[in-house]
Symmetry: D2
Subunit: 361 residues, 4 copies
């Protein structure tokens, strides 16, 4: 089974591309005919994950201009597959010549070489490159008008970078506005400064740091989703785990739920202006895989960038000896920073798919 | 889209059943013809999640005898769908009459009522009942001979109950042997005692506690899986989120990876007797969604049992007023305890599906 | 890939069972909660394919009483998977002992033995048995209320048995009423007599005959379906080819379209009481895979029953010598006769799935 | 559900494109890493369906140069999705302005307008254009090395054009060699002349004719496929029905099987040099959906080109009055002619998918 590049059922995406090939693209199928497809909005979404925008991310210059190749006529979805892509600029692939021989720790080089029997394109990470996440962002940007039409908002920001954490619950307004500011997307200003310092410190030492991203979706009606393998949380977790570097996903109280008692964890119901609400949101807006009508809140753990300048121990797969590796080049010191818009857009895509499958959009 | 009861591609399962209906069953498709199907082994797996076996779980007596209805002839898979089920004993459904009216906090009653427009069967939790996890266990027990044939072992145990944690890395031997002992499945004897006390304390107060389950798979060859949405970790996370009560899934260092630096997180490669190994396993045996050949290790956060004897605040959906609820009956004080074999068998099923899809079993 | 027992997307079915095992069943997922599930209607549908009802079909007595095991409460779909089955009576399987050794011509014995490496259950045809079509009928009977709600009617009848053909276009009323009469379902009374004689003649000689079934669906709105692999005709053809014995499927003018000129084949549009209609229906109600609003009409070619009393040449796979075979027992002289309700119900299921996927039911 | 542009499971394809948009492309996923991807072979396949090559097809000049955008490195599949496309030349779309208003008989204009609520791109037929079949051909050409490696050959040719039929069984050699000659692909030279005349006569009168294509696959091992919805014939029929203009598909004796007796239809088994063979091939190489080891033979009925120069009756959807239409332009007088390589390549793709799913390639 090799359908590794497809996601979604009623609304689906299919990826293609490599870091050092012709480009990276995504085909989105299932958009209702007539839905506006706004090239500026797709571009604005892409720009949020673009490198080179501050000293917190890699200084590589990538223009990443979205091109629409099919499925749109007069600014609206025709109902046919929508194909969006970014072309790659000319790149220097010489540095990747020996990835099959000297695998980088923390990267997929070694397992991918085994899986693909040495035929995978290792230049720039090939199909494993974080560059593929541009496709996730474009797909999400294409799908978002479906959420807008229901009054659903989706936002993401950093709640942890290295050991630095944001405390307290961020409002949707704070999350959405921090995405528009330059610098790190964190809704708590105090934490933001500490996070930025943490990244700069690691970068200065040729090292990297991990992060936790919080995603919040509000305005979702109660009753969306199904049990077992149609759970909203299961579908989101599956998609999030597809973002390179993700090591965990949790909903609501998440792993902290383990230490809670039921009397503290259960969210009590109450009436609010004729609407059923919960007095707390340990569930993260999901019970039995179905939305409760409370904001959907989840967290994604992102590991530190595996590409670091420090010397690392590895192996030479040809000579069958030990080897060391020092990775030159311009890398993101914290991949979590640029993963924020990826989490947000991929989550938006997944939710739009679920809503479309239920005939709600 | 309503394919909420199916999982898997090359090897797939389809669920049916409710808590208070005729029974609960699972159809497994894709087993190689000739694979032994051992009724005793399936029954032994089921017995591990059976209630009434100690004072740590609900005293309800459920016999849960597995019946094979199709796909097996002379003790071997024929290649046709294998249908295994357990029949329900006569049950008293009177207590569930008002679930559509007075939803239980922490349960799916309210969102399910909205989703199914009041037509869902609420008796005993209906299709949301933890009883459905017996189907996951049977499916996993059917699939396990495929893993055995590759020398892959799968074990799960509790590493946290309430605030009590097991420290240190458990060996596979310790994990497998703790499953065979009576009482709580935890590979660290000291923690086990503390966990049992924690559960008894909560139960005595009519309350419940959460848990974290660790699952470990060893003997997996490097190179299994694919990037994006064919990732081994994504497929496992998706399945685990389908277990009622799961609030999070993480791999290797998991959420702790956020606080790590790349130089500490990256697992260095080395040679061990002609085989590539890692000096640590922060990756949890997975890089880029593909196995590294190291043990696959992941954690599942399970919330406290929502059914508690303490009084809880809720709403009356008919009179549109506030209400309180006190749940009588015999409930598990920690659903994490009986979820251990569920995690283990569902993980085994998912891995068998992936291996079968790659033509390895 | 072994998902051979599942059909459908928004509304899906999963089969299980064998001819000489515990029974035959079907799980239907995706029925809107609240839809009436009428056991009598399911039984009435099953009774139409039941053997032993006339001298035109096998005299075997099979009660085939439908049992609902899940997904229905108080006579309505709950939204959970609906599981319907028929149990097998005690059967004598001794006659099947050497199917792996002496394959029957025209049956799947030989290719199935190779595919399943000799592990398939050959008793009564195992999973290849026509008895599995009872599951198709139950699934269709469960789905039909969705079509009723849209005013869509589905009927099937025989238009050819051996060389005997019905001429002229049958009305839906004639098709539906012939299903209720005893004897052969053919809307043209004259042809019906000739067809019955043809079957009796073949039976008297220990031989069998083939047939062509016409299926007609009316009341379908224009605009249902999508191009390429979402075509209504492609989805119907795929399902029909899953009925044992089917050798071809065609829509509208079908194979006769090859001999037509475009000027004769193209159906001219006209207005009829404010509605767009076609002056002819060579398209069979489908253009580009999408419904035109005209009746959907297709034909299914069914081969002669492979089980015949005449002596046939075959091979002995053990001794590797030539062999002859004479099949005793009570077989249908024309499997097309009992396939009529199967075609009708499976077509109804497929259409209900498509409509549900488009959010129309 | 809108996954209308995807086909296949272990080996899958995803289409994009329109007649008058940027181009037409296909993503192929699941090719074993290391498989040669030969651009010349893909181009040669495309050239067989290219227009402008004789007076039997439309004189439109389309260069149709295949471009590979991803998934190939150093001439071999990397394991990542392979993306192949052809770009569209500048086209004049003015003639299509009123397709939403005055639908062409025999085309999908009217049902598509209803389905897509008027938003579909009607220029050149949009996503319904026969131009999309170039994507099928590229996908098949990419997959064919998998069949070559098993010694499987696939060929297609015309066996009927209008009323002119080829008689007798064509050998694989004759079929393959007729594809290489200029003019119509028909393995029987006498019929070929009659077919060409038939097309020229229709074209001279501004009319068109239908056709029947025969596809033959030999070298397939016995035992490929599964019953019900994994049948090789069902999967092929589904794919063939996705080719625009197809009105029917049949296997082996096909619709003629209806008039046969079982004693004539059943193919007797015999030994041939230690191999089980059939004395006839009424089954078309398939029993119970599984290959018998005999050549797989099927027929596809293709309707006459709907675009004809004769005046046709239609409707004006805006004024709600009757209308007439005369289609200018350069159309194929028989779409069956250029459909031959489409049938052949799409069949090759489907078979490669099935074999890959069974772990045979």
């Amino acid at each position: 089974m090799s359908v590794h590049s497809s996601l979604g059922r009623a609304l689906s995406l299919h990826l293609w591309g490599e870091s050092h090939g012709a480009g990276v693209g995504v085909i989105v199928e299932g958009m209702p005919p007539g839905t506006p497809v706004d090239a500026d909005r797709i571009q604005a979404a892409l720009d949020r994950r673009r490198p080179g925008t501050s000293d917190l991310v890699t200084p590589r210059a990538e223009r990443d201009a979205a091109t629409i190749l099919s499925g749109v006529h007069d600014g609206r979805a025709t109902g046919a597959p929508i194909h969006a892509c970014i072309w790659n600029a000319d790149v220097d692939s010489s540095a990747y010549a020996d990835r099959h021989r000297i695998p980088r720790p923390g990267h997929a080089d070694y397992p991918a070489s085994v899986h693909y029997r040495g035929f995978n394109d290792v230049r720039g990470g090939g199909a494993f490159s974080g560059r593929l996440t541009a496709a996730y962002v474009m797909a999400g940007a294409i799908a978002r008008p479906l959420l807008d039409a229901c009054g659903i908002r989706v936002g993401a920001h950093l709640v942890q970078v290295g050991p630095e954490r944001a405390e307290g619950e961020a409002t949707m307004e704070a999350i959405l506005s921090c995405a528009k500011r330059p610098g790190l997307a964190c809704a708590e200003p105090g934490a933001r400064g500490r996070m930025e310092r943490c990244i700069r410190d690691a970068a200065a030492e040729g090292d990297s740091v991990g992060a936790v991203i919080e995603c919040r979706m509000d305005g979702i009606m109660a009753g969306v989703g199904e049990p077992h393998f149609g759970r909203v949380d299961a579908l989101l977790a599956y998609a999030m785990m597809g973002i390179p570097g993700t090591k965990g996903v949790s909903f609501g109280a998440g792993f902290d739920a383990a230490a809670q008692r039921g009397s503290a964890h259960n969210d009590p119901y109450a009436w609010d202006d004729g609407r059923v609400v919960c007095g707390s949101n340990n569930a993260g807006g999901i019970l039995g895989g179905i939305t409760t009508g409370m904001p959907l809140v989840f967290h994604v753990a992102v590991k530190p960038t595996p590409s670091i300048a420090c010397e690392q121990k590895t192996v030479d797969l040809v000579s069958k000896t030990a080897a060391t590796l020092r990775m030159e080049g311009r890398h993101d010191p914290c991949i979590g920073v640029r993963a924020v818009p990826v989490v947000e857009h991929l989550a938006a895509f997944v939710l739009a798919d679920i809503l479309r499958g239920e005939g709600r959009v």
